[in-house]
């Protein structure tokens, strides 16, 4: 199902309040049944040319781009985007802005290093890569569930504080603890495996691996959002009290959302440690936690695609801001990215996707009323 359809279906109710015109356009979600299911024909019918073009572009990208662009830009963006996707899912669909998603990814990265191979061989257990990676995903998902169980005790604005506190506390634990987390140095030389005759640390294989995981995560989020669970979760976001009276277990839905988001972040964390080749307390530091938030906000939290758009913009800025700034200011990347973040927060709460929708609305309004005139509902923290 296309993004536009999904958004139309989701926003039908909320947009009706925000914009009476949208009521006419959005109230009939083109007969889309809300429950999930495996309707293959419907699924194929929902594929639009732009999806195929996008997919072909993603697949062909390494053949056109240089290894630097494939690995440093492409691979990194996809891995970071996957972690940001977990935040986009939590915040956009669950209304819970968690800063601890990078912590979950970091836990996965640490587990890969602890169970697999690293330079600190007095700690690393040297298990085969597939076992270490699956352990990482399992343990990080459990940790995410625990973080979720803690954070859902509070709502809205408090969630940011609590998840930030959890994240920073984990970083301090990593710095101080030498027996398990190897303290300040962390783990170096955590290399991506050589499996099935392919060295996955090479640019093109890593890109395809990251692309596979990112597309899988994207599909999973899109699927869950249309499944009964996802719809109930969005109901919980919009009005927890009403959902509670309807018999939905609000807390369970929220914790389950954390678990799912944790799974995505864990996969992203495994990719990230294979990309970086190391994991240190800096991987889970405040800067890293906030980086994920910046990526999600840059792209826009309304749609899963936003996470990846934000990641691409962030990575491009990170790599080329130096060229823009000139040599005297090459250290001032944080000011630039912080400034961009401030501009986005001030002028476009829905990120780049918000701008895109605004542009399209303006364009559509010129073509004729009612075509695409829906506004994204303003859903601020409550």
């Amino acid at each position: 199902m296309s993004a536009a359809h999904w958004r139309r279906a989701m926003n039908a109710g909320a947009a009706a309040v925000a914009n009476p015109v949208a009521h006419v356009a959005g109230a009939t979600p083109a007969g889309h049944p809300v429950s999930g299911g495996w309707g293959i024909r419907r699924r194929i019918a929902a594929i639009r040319p732009r999806h195929l073009i996008g997919l072909a572009a993603l697949l062909l990208y390494p053949w056109i781009a240089t290894p630097f662009f494939t690995f440093q830009i492409g691979g990194q963006s996809l891995a970071l985007g996957l972690i940001a996707l977990s935040l986009t899912f939590l915040a956009g669909s669950g209304g819970m802005v968690s800063l601890a998603q990078m912590t979950v990814a970091g836990i996965a990265a640490y587990v890969v290093a602890i169970f697999g191979f690293s330079a600190a061989d007095h700690i690393s257990l040297g298990w085969p890569w597939w076992l270490a990676a699956s352990m990482a995903v399992v343990i990080a998902t459990i940790a995410a569930t625990f973080i979720g169980w803690l954070s859902v005790r509070t709502e809205g604005i408090y969630t940011i504080m609590i998840t930030l506190a959890i994240g920073v506390a984990f970083q301090y634990l990593c710095v101080q603890n030498y027996s398990l987390f190897n303290g300040f140095q962390g783990f170096q030389k955590v290399e991506a495996p050589v499996a099935f005759g392919v060295n996955w640390h090479d640019a093109t294989p890593f890109y395809y691996l990251a692309l596979f995981c990112a597309l899988g995560g994207y599909w999973l989020v899109q699927y869950v959002l249309r499944a009964p669970f996802g719809l109930a979760l969005q109901g919980v976001r919009d009005n927890p009290r009403r959902m509670n009276s309807l018999g939905f277990d609000v807390v369970a839905h929220r914790v389950a959302a954390y678990t799912l988001a944790g799974f995505l972040a864990a996969v992203g964390g495994v990719l990230l440690v294979w990309y970086d080749g190391l994991v240190t307390p800096g991987t889970v530091g405040t800067g890293a936690l906030i980086k994920i938030l910046i990526i999600a906000v840059l792209g826009g939290m309304r749609h899963p695609l936003g996470a990846f758009i934000g990641a691409v913009i962030y990575v491009l800025l990170q790599n080329f801001a130096i060229d823009l700034l000139g040599n005297d200011y090459r250290e001032r990347f944080n000011t630039v990215i912080g400034g961009v973040f401030l501009v986005i927060v001030l002028f476009s709460p829905d990120g780049m996707l918000g701008w895109w929708v605004q542009l399209r609305t303006r364009f559509a309004a010129r073509r004729g009323p009612g075509a695409e005139t829906r506004r994204l509902p303003q859903q601020q923290g409550r």
């Binding site: 803690l150 930030l164 301090y172 910046i294 250290e331 944080n334 000011t335 401030l342 927060v345 409550r382």
Partner: protein
């Protein structure tokens, strides 16, 4: 279960291990125990000064000011410069307070006033701001560690029973925090503006409806809250030191204090600061590599059994 019995059971579960630990620690090394206790209490006093500003702003404006740590660092650096130029530590303290208060006032008037009721957006804005401020401060002051030069009269060592001597400055810090706590109490409970602030914490809309200039109250509160951060920056920077990264440390401390003590409550901030300060110092002294776990466990326990914080009101 009988609620009274349950409450007592909970108290016993907490009190008995603590009592056992105190007895064991005193028997083992009384000097270390007393020194750690004093370190904990004096650190708590610093945390209280910083976190009370945070909780004041939060309670009234629902604004989780994640740039609070940056205001701390800003006040500390500017205070250091002023102290360096004038040669007076007291002037540095005043400058730290004023600069941060001014920055807070500016933020409230120029930015937050224009996004009322959008808590999440305000919080995100403070996050972006903290990145920029931290980077600009790093640019301006570099990565070196700065230390203050307080007057000799408060910088020596004070003779104490059992542990021979203890740094005078940390005791001064404790006294300062108590004075600030009392002043805040007096301000909030006995003055007209303080009553407005308390009314705003309870019900913002009603306060506005009653004809109070809410924006004025907001601005004053934000200035005081931010000023306390800058004040804490100079006072804390004198006890320890100031360096890049300290903003995160004090932000984390403020968050933990406020989560444990209860959001928006000054007595809660005092209690939370005491718990977090003691946990941190005892963790450091008795279990160095797991020190941070103690504060975390306290936070988890409070969240699990009393999500609104120890002194927080049930929302």
């Amino acid at each position: 279960m009988n609620p009274t019995f349950r409450r007592w059971l909970l108290r016993a579960v907490i009190a008995i291990p603590v009592a056992v630990f105190v007895v064991w620690a005193c028997a083992d090394d009384a000097k270390l125990f007393l020194r750690t206790l004093l370190n904990g209490v004096t650190l708590a006093s610093l945390y209280f000064v910083v976190a009370s500003g945070f909780t004041l702003v939060f309670g009234l404006m629902r604004n989780v000011n994640l740039a609070h740590g940056s205001l701390f660092l800003l006040g500390a650096y500017i205070g250091w410069v002023v102290g360096d130029v004038t040669g007076s530590w007291l002037v540095a303290v005043v400058a730290g307070f004023l600069v941060s208060a001014l920055a807070g006032l500016l933020l409230q008037v120029a930015v937050f006033r224009h996004m009322p009721g959008q808590d999440l957006r305000q919080t995100m804005f403070t996050i972006g701001l903290s990145i920029v401020i931290a980077d600009l401060l790093l640019w301006g002051f570099g990565g070196e560690i700065y230390q203050f030069d307080p007057p000799g009269i408060i910088f020596g060592r004070t003779p104490m029973p059992f542990i021979k001597a203890y740094p005078t400055y940390r005791l001064v810090m404790l006294a300062t925090a108590i004075v600030i706590g009392v002043l805040l109490w007096w301000f909030l409970n006995r003055t007209r503006v303080g009553m407005m602030i308390r009314a705003g914490v309870d019900d913002r809309a009603m306060l506005a409806a009653a004809g109070t200039n809410v924006q004025m109250v907001f601005a004053i509160t934000f200035a005081i809250g931010a000023g306390l951060a800058g004040f804490g920056g100079v006072v804390g920077g004198t006890a320890l030191s100031i360096a890049p990264g300290e903003d995160t440390r004090y932000l984390l401390a403020s968050l933990e204090v406020v989560i444990v003590g209860g959001m928006g409550s000054i007595p809660g901030a005092a209690l939370g600061a005491l718990l977090i300060g003691l946990a941190e110092q005892f963790g450091l002294a008795y279990a160095p590599t797991y020190g941070v776990v103690f504060t975390f466990v306290i936070m988890v326990l409070v969240l699990a059994f009393r999500p609104q914080g120890l002194m927080g009101k049930r929302g």
